[in-house]
C-alpha cells in the first residue's frame, strides 16, 4: 500500500480534517485511483476507529470527530468516484417520529453511520408518517431509521411502518428503530427489520442488513 494512504488513515483516526483533505488531494495528484483512496485511506482509518471504539479505547466524541474528517475527505472524492465505487456506499434515511422533538440520539446515530461509510439523509424531527414515505420515494435509501425518545411517541413508529405499507414502499427498504424506550421486543412487535441499543451497534446493524440485502 502507498504511504500516503496510510497517512490518510492515520490523520483520519486523529480527527484532523484539514490534513485529511490535504492528503486526499496529494494522493489524487500522485495518480492513485479515487476508489482506492476511499477504501484504503478513509475507510481503512474509520475501520480502526470502529475497532478501538468497540474495545472502549475511544470515546463517542472522538469517533464523531473522525467521522467529520471522513466527511471532509468524501467531499473531495465524491465527484470523482465511479458508479461502482458509489454503489458500495449505502444510503440511509433517518428521522425522529411525529410528536417527538428530541434529536441528540438520532444525530449521534447519523454521525456514527456516516463514519461507518453510509450516506446519511437526515430528514429531521417531529415527522408525520408521510414524510418518511416521501423520503423513500425521492431518495431510494437502502435503510430507513426511526428514532423516538418518549414512550408515548414511540407508538408512532408503528403508525409510520403502517403508512409505509399502505403507500406500497415498505418492501423497498429495511426499517430500523432505536431510542431510549425502544426494545428488541417492541421492534419485533411492530414489524421493524432491526433494532440496536446504541449508536455503535446501529452501525453494525445497518451493515449486516445491507449485506443481507446485497447477498
Amino acid at each position: 500500500m502507498s504511504g500516503v494512504l496510510e497517512q490518510i488513515a492515520g490523520v483520519l483516526y486523529e480527527g484532523d480534517d484539514e490534513s485529511v483533505c490535504t492528503l486526499v488531494q496529494k494522493a489524487l495528484n500522485e495518480g492513485i485511483k479515487p476508489g482506492q483512496v476511499l477504501r484504503n485511506g478513509l475507510l481503512a482509518g474509520m475501520d480502526q476507529v470502529g475497532v478501538d471504539f468497540r474495545a472502549g479505547d475511544l470515546f463517542v466524541p472522538e469517533v464523531l470527530i473522525s467521522a467529520r474528517a471522513m466527511h471532509a475527505g468524501m467531499d473531495i472524492l465524491r465527484p470523482l468516484l465511479s458508479q461502482s465505487d458509489l454503489a458500495s456506499s449505502n444510503k440511509i434515511v433517518i428521522g425522529t417520529v411525529q410528536g417527538d422533538l428530541h434529536d441528540i440520539g438520532k444525530n449521534l446515530v447519523g454521525m456514527m453511520l456516516e463514519g461507518g461509510g453510509f450516506e446519511v439523509i437526515d430528514i429531521g424531527i417531529d415527522l408525520p408518517p408521510e414524510k418518511f414515505v416521501d423520503a423513500i420515494k425521492t431518495e431510494h435509501p437502502d435503510i430507513v431509521g426511526m428514532s423516538a425518545m418518549l414512550t408515548t411517541t414511540m407508538q408512532n413508529m408503528k403508525h409510520t411502518i403502517d403508512a409505509l405499507e399502505n403507500a406500497g414502499v415498505r418492501e423497498e427498504v429495511r426499517v430500523i428503530v432505536g431510542g431510549a424506550p425502544v426494545t428488541k421486543e417492541y421492534a419485533d412487535e411492530i414489524g421493524a427489520d432491526g433494532y440496536a441499543p446504541d449508536a455503535g451497534s446501529a452501525v453494525e446493524l445497518a451493515r449486516s442488513l445491507v449485506k443481507q440485502k446485497d447477498g
Binding site: 474495545a55 472502549g56 470515546f59 463517542v60 466524541p61 464523531l64 444525530n107 441499543p197 451497534s201
Partner: protein, 492 residues
C-alpha cells in the same frame, strides 16, 4: 458500546487527594475526647510488664505503681509535639510514594488472613506464599489500590523464615509500598536489610523506606503486649516507619458506647505514641486506631458494621487534631463471598473514612469475612469502589474553565456538546469510569456477552491480570544482594 476504564489516557482519580469533608465529630466533641483520653491515662493508666518499657516511662517522670503506669497530660502532650506530622512511605517506583500528612488519602490492602477463597474452585483453602505473590501482582495492576499491605499470612513456611519470604515475595512483585506485621526482632532486622539492598544503603532506605512495619503492641483495654512492644522499640531505634495498631471492639474490649470506645482507643494511641517518642524523638510513626464493634449477640468481631465506618472517620479527626499521620481501616465486610452484603458494607465504610481524610486506609481491598479471608476477584471489585471513593474525595472543581461558559455559548440552545473542544479536553478526566468489571451496556449487549454478574466478570479480570501483568522486577544487584544475604528465600 463497551467503555472500559482500562484505556490509554484514562487515569484513575489519583491518590493522596485531600479529604476531610466529612466530620462526624464537632470541634467541641474532638476536644472532649482528647480531654477524656488524657484523664484515662492520668487516672486509670496503662499496664506495662516489660522492664525496659517501664524504665523508659519512669525516666520520663511517669507515675509507676507495680506494672501500672500513669501518664501526665504534659508528658503526653510533649510527646505528641515531637512526633512527625509527615511520614513518607516509598514505593520501589517513586510515582508510588505515599506522602502521609494532613488529610491526604491513600487506600490499600490489609490483614493477615489465613484463608483464601480459591479463584478456581470457589472453596476456602489455607493461604500460602504463592498467594502473597499473586495478590502483589494483582495489586500492582490495579490503579486505585495505592499500597500493598501483605494481606495473607503464608501458612506453608516455618515461623523463622516467614518474614523474609513474605516481604521478598511482595517486593519482587509490586513497585508499590510494602507493609506487614512482624513477629521477631531478627525478622525486623532482616527485612530492614532487604530494604537496604533494594534502596542502596541504610541512609537511602530511611529517606525513602520501601518497607514499613505494623506492631499490634496494645492488648485492649490499656495493656501493652510485652513481646510486641519490644519489637516496636527496636523499629523506633532503627528509625523505620512503624504503625501502632490497636483494634478494640465496642462492647467487649472497649466500652459499648462509641464515645467511650473512642476515648479509650485514643488514650491507648497516645500512650503508644508517647513511648515511641521517648525511645527516639521524631521517629516516623503512624498512629493506628481501628475502632470496631463486637456483635453483642455472639461476641464476634464485626468488620462490616456501620459503626466501624463512622468511628474510623471520627478517630481520623483526632489524628488531624494532633497532626500525626493515621493508619486505620475501612472496606471490611462480614460476608463470606463477594456478594451484595460485601459490596454495601465495604462501600459505606470506605466512603466515610476516605471522605474523613484518613491517610493510610488499609483492609480496603480483597478482604472478606472480617479479616479472615481474601479473594483475588475481590481486589478487582474493590478497586472500582476505591476509585469511586477517591473520585468523591476529589470533589467538584469549580473555576472558569470547568464552569464552561464559553462552551455553553458556543453550543447555544438546542445544540449538543458531543464534539465541542471543551468536551474533548475534559471527558477523559472529569468522570470516573469503572473497568469492565462493572457492566454499563444495554441489556441486549450484556445478554450477548453471556448475562454474567460482577463476581463472574471480576474472576475473568483477575485471571487475565495473573496471566498478562508483569510487574517491574527487582534490579539485578538488589536481587543478588538479597539472595546472598538470605539463604532461606524460596524461589517462586
Amino acid at each position: 458500546m463497551r467503555l472500559s476504564g482500562e484505556r490509554k489516557g484514562q487515569p484513575g482519580p489519583g491518590k493522596g487527594l485531600i479529604g476531610g469533608q466529612y466530620k462526624p465529630l464537632t470541634d467541641e466533641d474532638v476536644k472532649r475526647i482528647h480531654e477524656a483520653s488524657l484523664a484515662i491515662l492520668d487516672r486509670t493508666g496503662i499496664q506495662v510488664e516489660d522492664p525496659e518499657t517501664l524504665r523508659l516511662f519512669e525516666d520520663a517522670g511517669a507515675e509507676i505503681e507495680g506494672t501500672r503506669v500513669r501518664l501526665s497530660s504534659s508528658l503526653v502532650e510533649d510527646s505528641i509535639a515531637k512526633a512527625p506530622s509527615r511520614v513518607v512511605l516509598a514505593g520501589r517506583e517513586e510515582e508510588n510514594d505515599l506522602i502521609l500528612e494532613g488529610a491526604r488519602v491513600y487506600i490499600g490492602t490489609g490483614g493477615a488472613a489465613l484463608q483464601v477463597l480459591d479463584l478456581e474452585t470457589g472453596k476456602i483453602r489455607r493461604a500460602v506464599l504463592q498467594d502473597v505473590v499473586n495478590a502483589a501482582r494483582i495489586v500492582d495492576a490495579l490503579e486505585n489500590i495505592h499500597f500493598y499491605l501483605i494481606p495473607v499470612y503464608p501458612t506453608d513456611l516455618p515461623k523463622e523464615t516467614v518474614e523474609v519470604n513474605k516481604y521478598y515475595a511482595a517486593l519482587a512483585n509490586t513497585t508499590k509500598h510494602v507493609q506487614a506485621g512482624v513477629y521477631t526482632i531478627q525478622g525486623i532486622r532482616d527485612v530492614i536489610k532487604m530494604g537496604e539492598h533494594i534502596m542502596g544503603g541504610g541512609k537511602r532506605l530511611r529517606e525513602r523506606p520501601v518497607v514499613s512495619f505494623i506492631t499490634s503492641w496494645m492488648i485492649s483495654p490499656l495493656k501493652f503486649d510485652t513481646n510486641v512492644t519490644r519489637m516496636l522499640i527496636e523499629i523506633c531505634r532503627q528509625r523505620m516507619p512503624v504503625v501502632l495498631s490497636a483494634a478494640p471492639m465496642a462492647g467487649s474490649t472497649a466500652p459499648v458506647t462509641m464515645a467511650g470506645m473512642l476515648a479509650q482507643l485514643n488514650a491507648e494511641q497516645l500512650a503508644g505514641l508517647t513511648l515511641t517518642q521517648l525511645v527516639e524523638p521524631g521517629c516516623p510513626v503512624l498512629i493506628g486506631p481501628i475502632p470496631a464493634t463486637a456483635d453483642m449477640r455472639s461476641g464476634k468481631y464485626l468488620g462490616g458494621s456501620t459503626e466501624l465506618g463512622l468511628c474510623n472517620a471520627a478517630i481520623t479527626q483526632m489524628a488531624h487534631f494532633y497532626q500525626v499521620p493515621i493508619y486505620n481501616s475501612a472496606g471490611m465486610t462480614d460476608a463470606k463471598i463477594p456478594d451484595i452484603q460485601a459490596g454495601i458494607e465495604k462501600t459505606q465504610s470506605v466512603f466515610q473514612v476516605a471522605l474523613a481524610g484518613a491517610n493510610f486506609i488499609h483492609h480496603a481491598a480483597g478482604m472478606l469475612e472480617d479479616m479472615s479471608t481474601i479473594a483475588y476477584e475481590q481486589f478487582v471489585i474493590d478497586n472500582i469502589m476505591l476509585g469511586m471513593a477517591m473520585h468523591a474525595v476529589r470533589g467538584i472543581e469549580i473555576n472558569d474553565e470547568t464552569l464552561a461558559l464559553d462552551a455553553i455559548n458556543r453550543v447555544g440552545p438546542g445544540g449538543h456538546y458531543l464534539m465541542d473542544e471543551h468536551t474533548l479536553r475534559h471527558m477523559r478526566t472529569e468522570h470516573f469510569y469503572p473497568s469492565t468489571v462493572f457492566d454499563r451496556q444495554e441489556r441486549e449487549l450484556w445478554e450477548q456477552d453471556g448475562s454474567h454478574d460482577t463476581w463472574y466478570r471480576a474472576k475473568e479480570i483477575a485471571r487475565r491480570i495473573l496471566i498478562e501483568h508483569k510487574p517491574k522486577p527487582l534490579d539485578k544487584a538488589s536481587e543478588e544482594g538479597i539472595r546472598g544475604s538470605f539463604a532461606s528465600i524460596l524461589v517462586l
